[in-house]
Point group: D2
Chain length 377, copies 4
C-alpha cells in the first residue's frame, strides 16, 4: 500500500482533528492600558518550533499566543542550528508558512523572523520582517546579518548576558555590535529573555538610543514553563503602536516605543512608563477634609496585571503616609494617611513615591507624585 | 555555506537547551492506593506527536507524562494518516526511538505503539508492544491487524462510539471486531477517550471478558487541554500490576486487571474497585456510644484524588444518616448521624451506600457498607 | 483589681490591634458594568452578627463587604430571636451603631436594618432604613411591621420558599402578605437567599410590581461559606442607582431598579438585563467578508464576572453557528461561524440567542441578537 | 411583648441555623509525618474571640480549627483588656464554656486558657490548662501569674519581640522573666506570633531549656488573614505527643517536645527536626550504576506541606550535584547528578546538604546527608 493514497481516511480524520481542537478556545487578555495615542500591544518576538530546536508544531505557537493574550509574535528559528534535521528537513521559511493561516484565523499578527545563531561575538541576533530566511545561511556572521538587513529586516541583539556565552551574566557590547550598529543594521536589544534579565541594557537604551525588548525564547510548550494560572507570564515586549498592525509595530520598533515586561518588572523610557502607570491606577479618594485628628483610609485601584510596589521618595512633613505601598494587581488597596496640623493653609498635599518595579534607567525607578486636595469640611 | 556544517555552534547551543530545560522539573503524583498485591499504575496508551497529527516533539510526551504523575505511556502514531509528511518524512518507528532515552532518564515506562486508522468498521485500533510499526502499513485492515498481532502486539479497539465514525455516539461491535476477537487478536477496548465516554462498553467487558482502557488520545500539549491546577486530569487507565515494569503491565492487560479513570468517574470490575475505594478512605469515627439522643458528627477521610459521591442504597431504620455524602478528594468530610432507640441491643450498625461515580457494570454502581460499632458509654 | 481601670494597657493594646488589622487591606472589585444612566451597585441587605445569631462582631461585616467588592450592606438582626442574650444583652440598634464608623472609613454604605422574625405567615421580613429597631419589638407581627413602616422603613419578604417554613420549597403569597402589600408596607421580596433560589418569585415581580432582591443572610464569616478564590460569590442585589448614595439606593428600591445575582444566574427585568448583558460583552469581530467557503473564528469578549451561557433561539438558515456558546467570565471566546451561499445579497446577518442564565420572567430568558455585517472582500 | 418569650420561634429558627451550618463541613488535613513514637499534633495555643478583642463567637474558633486541620487549640482571652465589655459583660471562663461542646463534636482538643496582658516587663503571658480564669484578675502581674501557676497552668511568654512593646523587634528576657522562670512558673516562649518571628528565641530554648511555640494570636476570622487556598497557614506549634489527648499535649509541652511552624520555616530541636524531615521525604532513586559518563536525573518525593530548601554544605569531589535544591511540597523533584571517575571503588556516595528553612539553633540549619549506593551495572 502506498502511504500517501489512503484518501478515504482524510475526511473523517480531518473532522476528528477539528472537533477536538474546538475544545479550549478561550483567550485571557492582558490588562495594561493604552497610553498617549498608542495602543499597548503585547508582543513576543523570539520563540522556536520543531523547525529548529523547539518542541512544538508552528501553529501551536499561534494558538498559545492567542490563548495567552498576545497581539503579535515572531517565530525565530535558528538558521544554523537544526538538531532535528534528520527528521525535519531544513526549510528556513517553513515555520512561518505553516503558522500564518492559523494567525490570520485568530487575528494574531505574525511577523516572519529568524535567529542568526553564532558564537560570541556577535552571538545570537534576531531578524524580524524577514522576507526569505534561506538567504541568511551565510557563514560569515556579519554577512549573514547584512543579508537580513538587505531584506529590510529589523535586527536586535538577543540575550546579551546569556550565561552560556557570557558566564558573568553581564551583557557586553562588542566591537562587532558597534560595527553593526554603525551600519544601521542593529537597532534593538533584549533586556529580558526566558528567565534572564540584564539591567545594564538600560544604559545602552539611553546612550545608543536602542530599542529594548523582552522575549520568551520559548522552546517547550509555554504552559510547561509558566504557571499562567498563578499569574506568571512569559517575558514580552510592550509595543506602543499607532494601530494593531504589522506596519505600526515596525514603526514603533524603529522609534523605540517599547517597554519590556519581565516577571514583576517593567523597563522602559519614562515618557511611556509614566502614562502606563497613571492609566493603570485610579486614586479613588481624591479629597481629604481638613482634619488633623482624623486617620484616613485612602483607596487606590490598580486595574493592571502587575503589582506596583511604591516606596516613599521624599517624606512630606505634613502627612503621615506609609513608607511603602503594594498596589496589588486588579485590586483596590487601602492605606492609612493622616494630616499634620501644619498643613492648614495648603490646598494640595503631594506625596512623592517611586515605583520600585518600573525602571526608567539602570537603577532608576519611575517617580510618581500622589496628590490630594485638602478641603474644608 | 552548507547548512549542516556549522559544528562550532553545537556545543554551546546544546548547553543552552539543557539549561533552560532544567527549569520546571517537578512531578505531581496521583493519589490512588495500591490494591490487593498490585501496584496501581497510571497509564495512558494513546497519544500523538508530529510524527502523525500531533503538535509536539516525541520526548515532550514523556516530559508531560512525568510531570503529571504517569507511570507508563505509549505514543501511538497513526500508521496511515500523516498530514505533516511534507515536512516530517514518514518513519513509523521514529517517535518511539526519539522518546525512549528521555523515558529512561525520567523512569517512565515507554511502550512502543501504533494506531491502525481505518474507516468504520473496524475503525481505529491501537497496537501496543509493537516491534516494527513499518510492517503495519498494509492496505487491508484485517491484514494490518494480523501483522501487528504477529509481532506479539496487544490490540484494542479505540473510541468505539467516537462521533466522527458513530454519529449516534453509541459504541458498536461489528462483525469485523468479532472476527478479530475470535482470532484472539483484539483483547481490549477504550471506554473513555479524550472527552468522550461510552458507558455501554461495560457490558462488553463482562460479556466478552475484554479489558477496558481510558486514554487521552491527546494531540495538543496536554496543558492546553486539561487544567491540571484545577484538578482536571487526562483520561487514563489504572493498571493493577505486580510490579512497575513493562512485563507486569502486559500481564495485567492480558488478564483484565484495569480500570478507566475519566473525569470524576472510575469504571472497572468490582473486585478491583472495592479495594480501590476502601484503600482510599479512612473512617475516622469507628465507635458510637449508645445514646439515641445524641447527634454524632462522623468523619471520613478520603486520601485519593477523586471526590467519591455516596448515595444511600437502603435505609437502615435504626440510623438517621444523610441520603448522599460527598467525600471530597484529599479531605476529611463530616456528616451527621443519629441512632434510633431501636438500635439498643445491636452491636453493629450498617449503612448501605453506593458509590455513584464508580461503575462496576452498565448503570451499576459499586456498593459499600459503612459500619459502626455501638458501644456502651 | 477593678477590671475597667487598667488604663495603662489601652494605649499599646490599641496599637496592637491597629497593626494587625493593617495586614490584608485589599479589595476585589466586582466587574459588572453600569447601565443606562445608573450605577450598578452591589448590595447585600440581609446578614447577622453576634447581636442576634451570627458569629461575628458587627464591624467585621463591613470589612468583609469592603474586601469583597460590595457598595452597600444592611445588618439585619432578628428582633425576636437572640440566642446569645445571656452573653450579649439585647440592644436592637447596637449592631448598626458599632458598625457605622468602620463603614464610613471604608466608604461602605451602611443601611440600618432589622429582621422581623415570625412563624409563617407572614414569616420573616426585613426592614431597611430603620430609625429605631427597639420599636419593632411588638408581639403582633402586623403591628411590628406597621411600626417599621411608620419609621419610613423599606420592607421586603425574606426567603419566601425557605424549607424550614415551606417544606415544599415553593414560595407562597399568603393573605397576610397581600394585606401588607395593599397597605403599601411590603414592597420587595427575596428571590435568592443564602443557598436557596425561588424562581416563581419572578411572576410576583411582574404581577405585583414587586422589587426583587438577592441576599446572603450570612451568619458565619463569609469566607467560611463561599470560596471567593474559586469565583464563588454571596447572593446579592444589583441596585441600579443614580449615584452611590443611600438615598439613591432607596429610590432604586422603591422603583424596582434591581436584579438578583445568585450563583451563576441573574434575575431581573428585561430593561435592565439587556443593557447589563450588552455592556458586559464586546463583539470583537464585527464584519465578515462575503465568502461562503470560509470558516470564520469569531471572537467575543466578556468583561463581566459571570459566564454567560448562550443558546440558539432560532436558527438563521444563512449561517452555520454553534447551538450553544459559553462566554467565559473575563475572557475572550472563539467560536466558528460559516456563511451559506444564500446570504449573498444580505447586508447584515442576525443570529438569535437566548442567555440561558439571565431570567426576565419565570422560565423566560433574556433574548439577544448577535449581528454581523457582511462586507465585500 | 417581652423579648425573651417568643418561644414558638425557637424551634424553626434553630433548625434554620443547623441547616445552613451543614454547608461546608470539609476539613483539610496537614501533611506532616509522625516521628519517633510520637504523633505530630498541630496546635494553636493563642487566639481571641469577642470575649476579649477578637471578632468572632467562640465556637467559630473551633470550626475554623477543624476545617483547617488542627488537633488542639486554646482560646486565650485577655484577662484585663475587654474593649467590648459594654456589649459583652465580662466573664473570663465564658469562651471556653461556649466552645467546648463544639470541640467535642468535632473532636478538637480544647484547652482552657487565658492571656495575662500587662506592660513590659513581663508583657503578655499565656496560661494553658487554666481551671478558673476569674482568679487571674489580680493587679500585680507576678501575683496574677502565680494564681495561674497555682491552678496548675502551663505558662509561656508571648511574642517577646512584639514591636508594640519592643520597638527594636529583638526579644528581651527581663529579670521579671528570670524570676518567673526560677520559680518554675514560666516554661515556654513564642518564637512566632501572628506575622512576627523572633529567631533569637532559639538561644533561650537551648540555654534555658524552654519550650518554643508558634501561635496565631488571631483576632479576625482566620480566613481573612491567611489565604489557605494559596498554601498559606497560620503560625502553629507542632506538639510531638504520645497520643492525641490533652494529657499527652501537656506532657510534651513540659518536656519541650515541640517545633514551631511559621510561614515556610520550622524551628525546633535537632532530635525532632531530623526525623520530621526524613519522614517527609522519599529518595526514589537509591542506586546509581557506576558510570562516570552518565548524567542521572535523581528523584526525591516530599510528602509534606512545606517546600524544603536544600543547600550544599560541603561539596563531594566525586559527585556533580546542584548547589541548591528546592523539594517542592507534595511533589517529586528531579535534579541532575553525575559521578566523577574517582568514585570508582566507593560503595556509597554522600552529599551533605543543609535544610535552609529548618532551624535547630540561632542561625543554624538542619544538616542532612543524602546517600546513594554505587552499583556495578
Amino acid at each position: 500500500m502506498k502511504k500517501d493514497r489512503i484518501r478515504y481516511l482524510f475526511i473523517f480524520v480531518l473532522f476528528f482533528v477539528i472537533c477536538k481542537a474546538d475544545n479550549l478556545k478561550v483567550r485571557t487578555e492582558f490588562n495594561f492600558p493604552n497610553i498617549l495615542d498608542y495602543k499597548t500591544l503585547k508582543c513576543d518576538f523570539h520563540m522556536h518550533t520543531i523547525f529548529s530546536d523547539g518542541a512544538v508544531w508552528p501553529p501551536t505557537r499561534v494558538k498559545e499566543a492567542w490563548r495567552r493574550g498576545l497581539d503579535a509574535i515572531s517565530i525565530t528559528e535558528h538558521v544554523e542550528y537544526k538538531p532535528y534535521k534528520e527528521d525535519v528537513p531544513i526549510h528556513h521559511n517553513r515555520s512561518y508558512e505553516l503558522a500564518k493561516n492559523k494567525a490570520q484565523q485568530r487575528d494574531i499578527i505574525l511577523i516572519q523572523g529568524a535567529e542568526i545563531t553564532r558564537s560570541m561575538p556577535p552571538g545570537h541576533l534576531n531578524a524580524l520582517f524577514v522576507k526569505d530566511a534561506e538567504k541568511l545561511t551565510v557563514e560569515d556572521p556579519i554577512k549573514a546579518i547584512k543579508a537580513a538587513a538587505k531584506q529590510g529586516s529589523y535586527i536586535f541583539y538577543n540575550h546579551p548576558g546569556w550565561k552560556s556565552q557570557r558566564p558573568s551574566g553581564i551583557p557586553k557590547w562588542f566591537s562587532e555590535h558597534e560595527q553593526l550598529y554603525q551600519k544601521g543594521w542593529l537597532k534593538g536589544v533584549e533586556i529580558a529573555n526566558y528567565n534572564e534579565y540584564y539591567p545594564k541594557v538600560m544604559k545602552w537604551m539611553h546612550n545608543k538610543n536602542l530599542t529594548i525588548l523582552g522575549n520568551s525564547d520559548v522552546h517547550q510548550p509555554v504552559n510547561e514553563v509558566w504557571k499562567f494560572h498563578k499569574g506568571e507570564h512569559r517575558p514580552m515586549t510592550f509595543v506602543f503602536a499607532k494601530s494593531r498592525t504589522k506596519d505600526a509595530i515596525r514603526d514603533a520598533l524603529e522609534k523605540g516605543r517599547t517597554a519590556a515586561y519581565f516577571e514583576n518588572k517593567i523597563m522602559g523610557r519614562k515618557k511611556y512608563l509614566l502614562p502606563l502607570f497613571k492609566n493603570s491606577i485610579e486614586v479613588i479618594t481624591k479629597n481629604l477634609d481638613y482634619n488633623p485628628k482624623k486617620k484616613y483610609n485612602l483607596q487606590i485601584h490598580n486595574s493592571s496585571d502587575i503589582d506596583y510596589k511604591l516606596k516613599i521618595k521624599r517624606k512630606n512633613q505634613n502627612v503621615d503616609a506609609p513608607e511603602s505601598i503594594n498596589l496589588a494587581a486588579k485590586k483596590t488597596t487601602l492605606f492609612p494617611v493622616s494630616i499634620q496640623n501644619k498643613v492648614h493653609r495648603e490646598k494640595r498635599v503631594i506625596m512623592r513615591y517611586e515605583v520600585q518595579n518600573m525602571f526608567t534607567n539602570y537603577n532608576e525607578h519611575l517617580n510618581y507624585k500622589l496628590k490630594f486636595n485638602i478641603v474644608s469640611e
